[in-house]
Subunit: 203 residues, 4 copies
């Protein structure tokens, strides 16, 4: 089976997640600019989550682009990823409305951690099916980013109970790591004829 | 008419259903981990419904994959299925917020039962159009799963007024039955040239 | 320009409209079956609106299926239709929560009337572009249904201030008129080679 | 990489934005026509935002239609645009519920301004990739509309603190400027073989 409908369904879910998160930004009752000030933690959380979901969509897009066929295992690994991402509006709202207190900041990290693991699993399931010589396998290579992210998130979860601002530093760091243009799959596609058997270049 | 747009519309509706269910998980006002505890019945209901909608999407995906053409009857049978699935956020929220009391647990079973019947009807309408020798007809075969599910749901609805935990056991059992990799359509596709006229293998 | 993206966007908007209407079905606080009883007007309104949006999606699907190219005028005529349909959740909720009182019942009719007119305009814009000999023009023919619907809706709006149940009779009648399988476009497609220049068969 | 999935995701987000804005139209508790009157500022804001998002969708549709390939920079420039558009439900609701007072009217202008800038950036990123002789570059030409819009929005933001009705005049003017059929891309497509190297015709 092709990937078209898997992409369409994932696009739908990600588009809704990214959009309903903004519903946590409750319209203030006052009409002064000052009435916007108490909203800044919710807004900051929204921006971080928007970027995170954007990164997932971006990477998902690239990964599926070099995936030829999907089977039941891929469909469920994908749904598993969407499940954890679907909790983002909840943890984003909880963290934002409580001004980055310990428990909500840790909960945000847990959702991020589980989504990162789910993405890793999905990638592994696809690679197992596509083969170790596939474009995706070569593009992912040693997957430094994919392995670093969970470590940062675990650090953020622990730090939340000591100093939540450290958690934020860590969560933002992961986003920046991924925002740096990731040309691995584009490179692997271009060098596909060359068929370099060594690990793909990691930017 | 082809199936593209039917799939796109169904994907959209299913993606929204699966995502707005999470809105029933109301952000708690407190900022302690303990504030999450009262949410567990809503969360458990959400997980079950997410898995159920995921199963429907998965099966729908497989079924439409081997459907060649659709007509008005198929479009309406599909809308009928989407109608019952659209009630999932409501029954999920009602069951979760009332800690699995009798009436909400039964209502959840009714929505599941009606969706299962609607899926069965949709499948029958497509098979009638595709013919009894079609890939779908052979893949479905005797359709043990499809016939067992309503029985389990009726059992769950009745049990809800005696002991709701039995209902949950039954609802979860149906999900597990369907989660077991269902390769019928994949098998039927692979053996299509062989054209075995007997019933399709049921895992 | 082709119709793919117009269809995708319309599918998205219609899928969301049909799904968020269910959010008006507020989860009751009690856990008895009796707590569902006060919801029946909201539920009945939801069913009628679901069927109405389903009819629009169905007809839209058929119409775009025989449309070859779209231009700016078609895009805006389509957005105009989506605008009136986007008010369905509002009027459905208002009518349902007020037990079919006069003003909400009339407001529902106004939304239906405007959507029907917008659909008629969209159809006219497409036919103007496709030509009077196009498959669509022949399929639509004298368009009895399209011309009857606004009359019924105007009747319903007026009747709402006398006896709202008459409005409901009229609104339901329109839905039934359209639910009767409409094979005009399918017929026109099949008879396309025959190129009957007379009006298309109206079922 | 092709543009299909970028379009699908953007369609999803835009479809959801345009639809959840209507949720700010809260169903009134009374059942009289008079109960609709206090809703008119929310309704007027909704209409303006619906038209604005419709214009973005329309222009986005045209722009991507003549875009051949996308890379990471295009994906992120697109997400950046979607981010500012995702704030439309919030600023629309705030402006509508406060009867066009100064701060909310200015906030609406800021969201419009940032979206206009983001669209301009997205266009520039695509043109940089497609080349200065591409159909898009020629169609955009001097891009009078694109350069005028931010000026009008800045005027509207400033005017909001003096006389909000001037802001509304300016916001509506921008919408009208864009609603005037924009045939630049359609013209550029038709004259593509002629390859006029001068700026594209601006209607």
């Amino acid at each position: 089976m092709g990937t078209t409908r898997l992409e369409a369904f994932s696009d739908g879910v990600l588009a809704i997640i990214i959009t309903i998160m903004v519903l946590e930004l409750k319209v203030p009752h006052g009409a002064e600019l000052a009435d916007l000030v108490p909203l800044w933690p919710v807004f900051a959380s929204y921006v971080l989550s928007f970027v995170n979901v954007g990164i997932y969509w971006n990477n998902h897009h690239h990964m599926l682009h070099v995936t030829k066929r999907v089977d039941g295992a891929v469909l469920w690994a994908n749904l598993h990823l969407l499940f954890w991402l679907s909790l983002f509006p909840f943890v984003t709202g909880w963290m934002g409305e409580n001004h980055f207190e310990s428990a909500p900041t840790a909960a945000y990290g847990v959702a991020c951690l589980m989504a990162a693991i789910a993405y890793y699993v999905l990638q592994a399931v696809i690679i197992r099916r596509e083969g170790r010589d596939s474009v995706l396998a070569r593009a992912v290579g040693r997957d430094l980013k994919g392995k670093l992210s969970p470590v940062f998130y675990i650090g953020g979860i622990v730090a939340a109970f000591v100093a939540p601002w450290i958690s934020w530093l860590l969560y933002i760091s992961v986003a920046i790591i991924w925002l740096v243009p990731d040309r691995r799959i584009e490179h692997a596609l271009e060098s596909a004829p060359a068929a370099a058997s060594s690990g793909a270049p990691i930017p």
